[in-house]
Symmetry: D2
Subunit: 325 residues, 4 copies
């Protein structure tokens, strides 16, 4: 494997002065932008909000953006299914990095307004669903008005003559727009976290770190009681753990599925490479969406029997057999 | 098993004149209401739109509603994660029925307006994402305004002084509100279908039909490479096919999962009953969310080795051994 | 299960004065007789040597013997294949007990003869093969004459005008016949042990002791790469360990197999009963050859998920589901 | 893999005039010699009967014999356990060929004797066990005298003053010694076949033929309910079928096993090579005993997913991923 460090890679933006352009699921001020801003160098890059996951990915495929940041799990503002489906079809793309963003909502108002004055509140419908308990207890009389995103609500609030009194949004956008925060961390679920990924065209792979994740899209080769087992056996028989699995309809016809899977480890690890080869044999249309560092830095546990050394020793042994020893 | 036909069951609404009350993820006129209306008897029942999946389910738990209809897969207007998570915690609930609704969007306007006149269009953000190709081709200049739901956009359009010119919504609500439909089936994905479920308190189970589905929530007992295999082996070793699997974080801490699973067959089938007992042994906190008829009426395939007869024969054989024959 | 202690059982020979008759693979004085004599009560029973395993078992089937003792593993004097095959066909029989006998050979001569005087030595061909190293070192010039069994050699030696000078046999028979033992423990393998079983007609099962073994004959239902796995999965998915497995041709045609298997545990254990039922479904012609105490008293290890309590809890849970809770 | 055809191999005996020496489990005239004689070229080679399997193999290990022929399954005259155990320990050996020999017994007498004259009959105890039904029906009065082998009985009969009247032996030896055959095919089991193997020092492998067998000795890495499954999964997950499996105690201590396994296919097949590497990782002390043509010429069935092409395609795909495509 050629190392990403050997040359100028999209995930090492701009060392030679080129302009790095990031697309992301917009608008500005959402949790997705927060995810993007946590990536080193993103502060100095061009950042283009896209109206949908598909359009963000399209900007990457067409070369207008170096990479895109989109949600892939648990998103407040949707897009997860779109991301899973978009990565499973069309020209291949690669995940270079994952980013975890804590989801904390604030209640923001124009400077000077008090809690008791709030008669209307706006935010994305999903954010509203997640703050309903707090709202019922604290602003029970407030009417809800939908917004296209949490950020859109905040932006409208900061403009002349907003049509509502308060916005539920991310701390980032409230601060940036100079809004007053009347209450923090008002989501009903504490410690909620959303996972985002940075996506690019295929190219050099991020180097293995010992704490990596590999994302795959695997069409179910046949639909019978053991078919999923055959796929999962490829992982378990090499000691590879899964951290996410979702069946998704292919969209072709009912009963036709693919699996979106995250597995612990890097394709440069012998056991993961062997797993991928096993998967390719039973489902040759699988897609490798990338091997990249885990955001939580949890080290991959490796059993003695599935270490790179065990694979190397087995290769050497077999070679000797074939040579007559 | 006592049959549902023996007595007055919640999924046989109102035979003795009692008032049947259905909650559903509102507002009126969404695809969820369309799902509800397709259920026999729902036309004559009280139908209460709920602002969120959780509140719809809460109405069932508290007895204010006989049953609730909520999305469980592929929803245009969200709610799927909320449904999966709500069913996995709190007092137990049961799925009594599934409903498939084709997702077709129309462009609706107030009577008299032409396509060329549209400068602003409103709908739910997810519906907008699914109609962007059509919009780019046909109303490229139109500005987008978010709505809380597809139906909310249609409703506002039907009221005095709407703040936009057109709504993207379900055919049902456009017809009901007397709006003009300028274009039909404008979604970018043809043949999209969303799955909804009707949920009630535990009680009599729907009778097996030979084309049934069983839905389970199974906490991962331990997190190691073979743990998911151990769970799936319980199904495959009894010839039970899965039609959906999703890992979901428990919300407790990272790396702690449960699986939301749909399996072919009914708990009254011997092989499914045996599978559930096997699952209970390895993950005693699993939840049975119900056995109910498949909406697509596809018959469950049963191998010779996993038929009710094979189970009965094995029981008799073992009994004879224990009695010394 | 009715307990064996409730009534007069064949493996509790003779409490009411009836005559207990044991058949065994003869002749007298072999390791098989040693195995039989180690069984409580056998000293006082009628003991009939049989010329072959089949004839010993036939004596049980016809009622002429209460039980038979035959080798089932590692036998010096053969019979193991015959035992495995005989148990797999014909009217059903049951193993009630296993016996481990240490295999130690002695060199026996008529009183007065010295090592240097030995010119010819006789024993069973298998015993000769196991003592060849000792013979090469200690009686290198001695010529070998075959005998039908180790005991037969000893018996001939004790009679008038034997045709050889020394016999290699079990300590038991040398002592009984009053022969001189010139060398003890002359086998090339130290600590060799042979396993014998006591076989009876089907009847009351020995009671579970917590250290039991279950023996099965399982025809391979179909011959494909996963067929054996499907069988073994029935054990492993219930946490049942195997202590012996042998494939044996059925004798019908090439490529047609049955498996002779010993598994840890008793059919009265829930996990073993469930395993047997699973096996019956995939291979309905399997034979249960008995559950009986292990000769080595090693306790069966039981995981939390496969305890009788876990099975009972799963049964109760399922029952409650079917009753609508 | 270097082809056996490239050079002078032990299993292509003697092309350059060297003397080929075969050891075999003797004595002369047994079924083992019949197996040896069926090997091309063996008629012209030196053939040395060995008194035991161990000594035959020792002749190969020490270089005194080019190869040895010994029974490995279902032998009339024993040796099978000795062969399995001898191959599992000591300096490595290789199976180059298997031979199937039909087991048919004849009743041989000195010329002129009639059936009614037979008062004593001799043969190996196992052969006697296999002909007892015929003997009971046809020579019920005849007394049995054991012999070291079927051939030894025939040889003694052909010599001056034999101590018995008839021998039960192989047709080969009766014919060779000029004995009269009074009855043919007198074994109780029709169509019995014994399998023998030709064993040599490690060296060039027999070339794959499309109908091959691979023999392995695999120590059980750990003793728990799933350990054997982990081993067998290596075969089944690559579509490799087993045709024989036997657990054998290692001789070290009770509960410590190895498995003797025959699998369909050749180590030069990608799926078998991959299986062996997988086995090496979980049980690094396994022994490869050879890949060699099946005696029954039954072609190995290969699924699409486990063909050499599928393996090659997977290798190429993985290589492209690692190179950034």
């Amino acid at each position: 494997m050629t190392s990403a460090a050997d040359t100028q890679a999209p995930h090492h933006p701009g060392p030679l002065g080129e302009t790095v352009v990031y697309a992301y699921l917009g608008p500005e001020g959402t949790f997705t932008e927060a995810a993007l801003l946590s990536i080193p160098g993103a502060q100095d890059a061009v950042r283009l909000p896209a109206p949908s996951v598909n359009s963000a990915l399209e900007m990457v495929r067409s070369g207008r953006a170096t990479a895109a940041v989109v949600p892939i799990e648990n998103s407040v503002e949707g897009g997860v299914s779109a991301t899973l489906d978009a990565l499973s079809a069309g020209p291949p793309l690669r995940i270079l990095r994952e980013v975890l963003v804590p989801i904390t909502f604030v209640l923001a108002v124009r400077p000077g307004l008090a809690l008791a004055d709030i008669r209307t509140v706006s935010t994305h419908t999903h954010a509203w669903a997640q703050c309903r308990e707090w709202a019922a207890a604290n602003i029970p009389e407030a009417e809800y008005l939908p917004a296209a995103s949490t950020a859109a609500a905040a932006v409208e609030l900061s403009e002349a003559e907003p049509s509502f009194d308060a916005a539920i949004c991310a701390p980032l956008v409230a601060r940036r727009l100079g809004l007053d925060v009347l209450a923090e961390d008002i989501g009903d679920v504490r410690d909620a976290v959303t996972r985002f990924v940075m996506i690019s065209l295929p190219g050099l792979l991020p180097e293995p770190t010992g704490s990596d994740k590999t994302t795959l899209v695997i069409p179910l080769p046949e639909d019978h009681p053991g078919a999923l087992m055959e796929i999962l056996e490829q992982f378990s028989s090499r000691g590879v753990n899964l951290s996410r699995i979702e069946s998704r309809p292919t969209g072709m016809f009912l009963g036709d599925y693919f699996f979106s899977i995250d597995a612990d480890g890097h394709v440069a690890d012998a056991r993961m490479a062997d797993t991928l080869k096993g998967l390719h044999r039973i489902s040759p249309d699988l897609r490798f969406l990338g091997s990249y560092p885990r955001a939580d830095h949890r080290e991959t546990e490796i059993s003695r029997h599935t270490s790179d050394e065990a694979f190397r020793a087995a290769d050497i042994w077999l070679e000797s057999l074939l040579n007559g020893y």
